[in-house]
């Protein structure tokens, strides 16, 4: 066998192995999604949206409590995490730049991004739940908001840095003060990227369960009281899926399907916006 033939052979083997690995990985993904869709769609019905949790065996049981609770928790977390994340990202890109402080913040934020979310739940348990004396939607939202911050901070920082320096200089050269340059030119230029970061941040916390166990806990009934424990889809999935009752397990499948589609949708939307933004340039 010549050297060239050998290289061609090695190339073929490597290509085959890597393709195979990709197919196996994708196979598992579609397996999970497939089972989820089959079981989830089968479990869907109008009662899910009309009724709150009920004891096993009651046909008038649904997920209204968890859907509304999830929406409340995610909205509050977004209200906390998005402004903090965007403003902190703006600081890094526009003010801190390559300073020591900025690099330290970036490093800590990267660590936070991979920190186990249960640790953040425990942290919020200590600083919010303990002093309050009970679980609350506030605590859950704060925990999710904290988890959201590093995702949004980092994408904002990256996206703002992609805006060409000449564009900033051109605005300064017209006599714009710095805050105007940032708001009128830099934010506009990075609009699509920042929006994607926000959507990915929301998607990131949408599937969190562990931090909520410590903070908003759960409730099987409908509530909008932010000072009390608040049901969420994720904790509800956990409770229903591990219960021995057939009808609760069905609700668990439905909840898992709805949540997965929500997160999948956000991720796809985020990517579409980013792609459309890039294409326009």
């Amino acid at each position: 066998m010549t050297a060239v033939q050998k290289r061609v052979l090695v190339n073929k083997i490597a290509l085959t192995l890597s393709t195979l690995s990709a197919l196996i990985a994708l196979g598992f993904l579609f397996w999970i999604l497939g089972v989820l869709v089959m079981k989830g769609v089968g479990a869907l019905n109008w009662n899910i949206f009309l009724f709150e949790g009920a004891p096993p065996g009651n046909p008038e049981s649904g997920l209204k409590h968890a859907l509304v609770g999830q929406a409340i928790l995610i909205s509050m977390a977004t209200a906390i995490g998005v402004p903090l994340g965007i403003l902190a990202g703006t600081y890094l890109s526009e003010y801190g730049k390559n300073s020591k402080l900025a690099h330290t913040i970036r490093d800590i934020s990267d660590i936070m991004m991979s920190a186990p979310s249960i640790v953040i739940g425990a942290f919020v348990y200590a600083i919010v739940v303990m002093p309050m004396g009970h679980f609350s939607a506030w605590a859950g939202a704060i925990a999710l908001g904290i988890i959201m911050i590093p995702v949004i901070l980092r994408t904002t920082d990256d996206m703002l840095q992609l805006v060409p320096g000449e564009l900033r200089e051109a605005a300064f050269a017209l006599g714009a003060p710095k805050y105007k340059v940032i708001m009128d030119v830099v934010y506009r230029g990075a609009k699509a990227g920042i929006l994607t970061g926000v959507l990915l941040g929301i998607a990131r916390v949408g599937g969190e369960t562990a931090p909520l166990l410590f903070t908003s806990f759960n409730d099987n009934f409908f509530t909008t009281d932010l000072n009390e424990a608040m049901p969420s889809l994720t904790v509800t999935i956990f409770n229903y899926a591990t219960s021995p009752y057939e009808d609760w397990q069905q609700l668990g499948w439905a909840a898992a399907f709805i949540l997965s589609m929500f997160i999948l949708g956000l991720n796809i939307l985020g990517r579409v916006i980013l792609f459309a933004g890039k294409k326009r340039k």
Binding site: L167, E169, A170, A171, F172, A173, L174, G175, D184, R188
Partner: protein
Amino acid sequence: MASIIDIKEECALHVRNFEFTYKGAAAASLKKVTMPIAKHSITALIGPSGCGKTTLLRSFNRMHDLYPGNSYAGEIEFEGRNILGAKEDLIHLRTKIGMIFQKPTAFPMSIFDNVAYGMRLQGIKNKTELNDRVEKALKDAAIWKEVSDRLKHDANGLSGGQQQRLCIARAIAVEPEVLLFDEPTSALDPISTQGIEKLVIELKERVSIIIVTHNMQQAARVSDYTGFMYLGELIELGQTEELFVTPKEKLTQEYITGKFG
């Protein structure tokens, strides 16, 4: 010794013993530059890469102040004061001394909003006034005919040459006294370049112009005065024709005849 022409007509700017040092640099990037800039005329700055022509240009609107640690010495006189002073209002200065960059810098907003941007910064809100002045600026920048039916469209949809003329419209809309051009055609095709050069010549009736260019033919085509810079020094400043035909300095002659560069 440098050979600097004594300009008899009124001057827009006077540079005297100007020195500029970048942050952390051991030596000054501009050394003892002294040059008058004639009013309502075009002054070109030429010289090999790294000679300091862009650095000098960016000193006139204190662009270097965007990056901390740079330092100025000497004097640049504009409207009777030294603009290098610590108390200089840079926002006001930059409305008086505008700048056009190498690459077109259309903002991510509509054509109209681009041109209106500087005026809005100055607090002009009146719709009629904005409309009139945007139209006038676009006409003066010779782009009105191409964009009048799509003022609300995204400025990034324009071609490079159109964007550059849009940037010129944006700069003249705030009625500056001086316009700085930093190699404004180096990213453009020959036809667009021709359009920009024609426009620059037309504009000198209203503003004083300083243009940095790599291209000696461009300097010869458009400018009234030309300054040749080398290694951070202004070697020669003269009337453009004289400088290119009968340069007084040996270095200038060597550069314009292509012996180095």
